[in-house]
Symmetry: C2
Subunit: 423 residues, 2 copies
Amino acid sequence: MEETVAHAVRETALRAKEAAKALTLAPRSVKDAALAAIAAALEANTAAVVAANQLDIAAGRDNGLTDGLIDRLTLTDARIRGIAQALRTLIALPDPVGELVRGATLPNGLKLRQVRVPMGVVGMVYEARPNVTVDAAGLALKSGNAVILRGGSAAENTNAAIVKLLRAAVAAVGLPEDCVQTIDALGRAGVTALLQARGLVDLVVPRGGAGLIQTVVAQASVPVIETGVGNCHVYVDAAADLTKALAIAVNAKTQRPSVCNAAETLLVHQEIAAEFLPAALAELHRLGVRLHLDAEALALLPGGIPAEPALADDWAREYLDLELAVGVVPSLDAAIAHIARYSTGHTEAIVTEDLAAAQQFTDQVDAAVVMVNASTRFTDGGEFGLGAELGISTQKLHARGPMGLAELTSTKWIVLGSGQVRT
Amino acid sequence: MEETVAHAVRETALRAKEAAKALTLAPRSVKDAALAAIAAALEANTAAVVAANQLDIAAGRDNGLTDGLIDRLTLTDARIRGIAQALRTLIALPDPVGELVRGATLPNGLKLRQVRVPMGVVGMVYEARPNVTVDAAGLALKSGNAVILRGGSAAENTNAAIVKLLRAAVAAVGLPEDCVQTIDALGRAGVTALLQARGLVDLVVPRGGAGLIQTVVAQASVPVIETGVGNCHVYVDAAADLTKALAIAVNAKTQRPSVCNAAETLLVHQEIAAEFLPAALAELHRLGVRLHLDAEALALLPGGIPAEPALADDWAREYLDLELAVGVVPSLDAAIAHIARYSTGHTEAIVTEDLAAAQQFTDQVDAAVVMVNASTRFTDGGEFGLGAELGISTQKLHARGPMGLAELTSTKWIVLGSGQVRT
């Protein structure tokens, strides 16, 4: 059985590689036409997609999926319009393929150009997020890559309906339909085979919970980019504007608590803790946030507001929920040291009006995104103007932060000579 | 024993991580001073390094190393001057850290900057090339990275002498000496532990033969960049200038046959084969090249010149020696198809005066470097103006082609706001 699955995945990858050859050479107009055809097909077939989605939702409820997961799984008319709109945003972005990265003419007359080229075949492993099916296919097509999708069993009816539309739309503009394929039917053994298809698959991006990502990293012999785990901090400096600090802390924690760029820990400089924390804790509580406080923060908690002492492992937890760890730190250095210890390298924010503090924080904090006076929630490909995002890389190799079109490309050096030889 | 080695490697990596913190913040002047101190120390201690090198050479001869490996292993006064000179070239290059990659001001006023930052801790696994000890340390220091070196048992006396100089030079300018460390004393178990030090080591680059590289890729759970295997082709098009073609083919094969950017296969369009091949084969033979010819090429071989029929696996072989496979192809498309089948994605060259052929070849050939009318031997960090090189990446993720300073960096997004929250 596993042999058969591995063979099927390799055949899928070979078809993808063949399709990628056509896609590599496709001009922007054809790729944009494919994205437009997909957007139109989604809008024209909204009822069918929603019907398939209802099957997955019903099965999900039977299987006891949490409300959060059901919410992620759910497609509505409005959400499908939003997904189609995201494709149109992608259409408006420049084609990354052929973009000049660097160039030079050497003393011997050789003309060097480093240009962006597609990666080739990209695998996407995710769970219960049917919007990713379209986002990933759209980003892959625009950047000239064939994509192999594995969207997980919880969304299998929805994804099957969407992939059918994607393949038909791609074929309608004259591109090989194997530019988009799914291996959902091959189950978990299919994922394992995909992760081992070295030489056939140029990149796999996992997107989902920490468990999914760790499984992919552990099993993969193909190149992988880790995404997503975000233990994000907001640090309120001694020189913070406390109005901004409250707005940012509240937004970072409560605006959408289930996502990776939500804040999980609030650190407050001791000099302004007595002024800032009582009102901030009261407001967070009013918004439904469960509070885990260190001793200094507990001492500043207004009467009548419940809170728990922060335990050692609260500092490392990605709650992904309306829960927040809160600590008081003696200095900016102590805040940076705390972040260095517990950060997952996703997004870290400082609130301060002090230029030197902002400079030290952005210099010394090692994360994909470092914010000054802004909510951690802005770490997002759409917000950054990259179009839809494939995920948020928390590793340092190749891509770091929101992954858009450029991150789905490699480069090629093209060297033009007139007969030069090396001496 | 392996437990002890793994522990020692983790301690080494932790020291490197600590040293990297200082190096990340070091200004260019301090890093350049470290490189200058290394260059001066190498020149002042040439006799001691050469004496250590003589021990390795004697042991290498006893152990039956090939002449090619002995040559790579050998350091002379002149070679050491060359290595010091390469460091001075690096000093003259801009600091990659802090370089702005992209930037934008968003509609909501957020100011986005993507800047280059050091990777952190870089491991280098190589064999019998003591020049790499200095090149890798120089590139790592200039790009703000701590480096852990594993230079192989064949060069252990030489590398020990060099690493001692490197650490003293780094300390002399006020940087932590643990910016440069070696794990040569820990043997092969040390390499395995290094490759498994996930979370402590940000990147490992293997440099050496195909066996070394495959071992590293198979064992690593840390990010790896594959380097070096080069089955490079020179294709002589129907529209080639045959004088240039001969010079390029001869240079690509014979100028330094033991290296990865030397050509291993010569493909010739059938329209000019009768005009080109007899003289070309005679000249290659005169220069000592052993010839493996397909049937059409054999038919054009001048009398009195020995050659063997090319076997199926000759097209896939990286001879790394004065041997060459030669084939006649019916078309440019056939040449591109042959290269797609056998290329290792290193360097591929076309010789042609036809713009459309050059364009098709550079568009369709999938390799780190594609040359038009130039010798494959130019694929080299020094030749490309990148300073010394860490190796030549043949993968698509993060770095492709010669790896210089920029390839040893990651990026960080810095976002400056004035209190923005997400709605």
